[in-house]
Amino acid sequence: MRNGGDNRGRLLLISLIVTSLFLITLDLRGVQVLSGLRNGTQSALSPLQSVAASVFRPVGNFFSDITHLGRTRGEIEKLQASNEKLQQALINRKNADAELAQLKSVLDLAGTAKYKVVNARVISLGSTSSFAQTISIDAGTNNGVRQNMTVITGQGLVGVVKISYPNSALVQLTTDPAFRVGARVAGSQQIGILSGQGTNKGVLQLLDNRTTLKVGDVILARGSQNNRPFVPGVPIGEVSKVDNAAGAITQTADVKFYVNFSALSVVAVVTGAPQADPRDALVPRAPVPTPVPTVTIYAKPSESPTP
């Protein structure tokens, strides 16, 4: 090949490249065979992914926790050393508790807004080779999950169903660079477009140049026509930084998402939304400071000191 004598090799390379270009063309033209192949692969893989999620998710959560708890790593390692045996047993229990808590919170949120939801477990955390940010869930068309349905947790918006298979679905996360959602600011009702950036923050661009944002403003989904892909009123996040560039046509701001995308285990797909917009009913309540009890101790010297 390097000596230039191998025409067969060149022919093979060109044939393979042409084949791949042919495949791309077919797929972009919407030929059903290729999407059927992908669906078939996913149908075959989803039961295996469900089993693997049950077995390996506690381990995955364990590594994820270590990654995100850098500040207290020393303390964690100290505790790990002394509780090594107990921890393994507790991890499974914690995992179940966390799933239960997530399920409860998502049902609370859905109940407040009167959303009709289908609960699902996260069975895969998406591609690690491409830059798309997705998750796979164990509910699909057999459970009423369709393309372009809103996916939420108790904290707020997770993403939107991109592809629905019979027993699973692919969800595009809010953090995905290709993600766009119409958003509004709770209270002031200013509207804008929020886009994912590949990180745990999104960028909100307001549509009206006469309005202003401030840090701490809560951002909600504005909702789509017929509630797809987005039902209205779902909390997305809060403004963490406002960009006041002098030359900007409209104001933009960084929005920190409410949902912790590295700890997703249970989500809900909104299959039906109420006729009435819940407006600001789902805005997270500010934490109420708990009163700190004070104890007064009176010290009284004894009358006869002991020798």
Binding site: S20, L45, F56, A178
Partner: protein, 172 residues
Amino acid sequence: MFARRFLISFPIFVVVYLIQETIVSQFRVFGSGFSLFLIFALLWSALGTPELGALTGFGAGLLMDLSQSSSGPVGQWTLIMILAGFSISYLGYGDDNFRGNPLSLVVIVALAVPITRFLYLILGFMFGGELGSATHIFTSLIASGLWTVAIVPLLMPFVTRIHSGLFIDMSR
């Protein structure tokens, strides 16, 4: 003979693909994690002839395209992997000093993984995809290179043994 050996290696790729899709995809680690399948495919290609590298890239790319989490059209990974597989095998073809040195294999695969992913991103952008923030892309590419440096030495003993068992006289 060549086709038969190539077909024998296919189940190995399917097993690695299943491990990637079912087990590795459960972990979210620093910098969006790593793709065991991509690393395996490039390492396998690096050990073979350019013809075999292109064919390996074709098969591996096709499997990657069938992944549910693949965001691009079917054929996008195939195209990129054909070029990556051919290039990585062409670089070391005929140079036994290169193939015999584990360090050079680690370096070449660690460079090839982020380059392949970057080319996939660019091609996806040409097909109308979104790029995302530059920081995220940069972090992800650097992290994938670092993960590759950590994983290739672990994979290499298995991959080289299986590969030499199947293709020893094809690559000479």
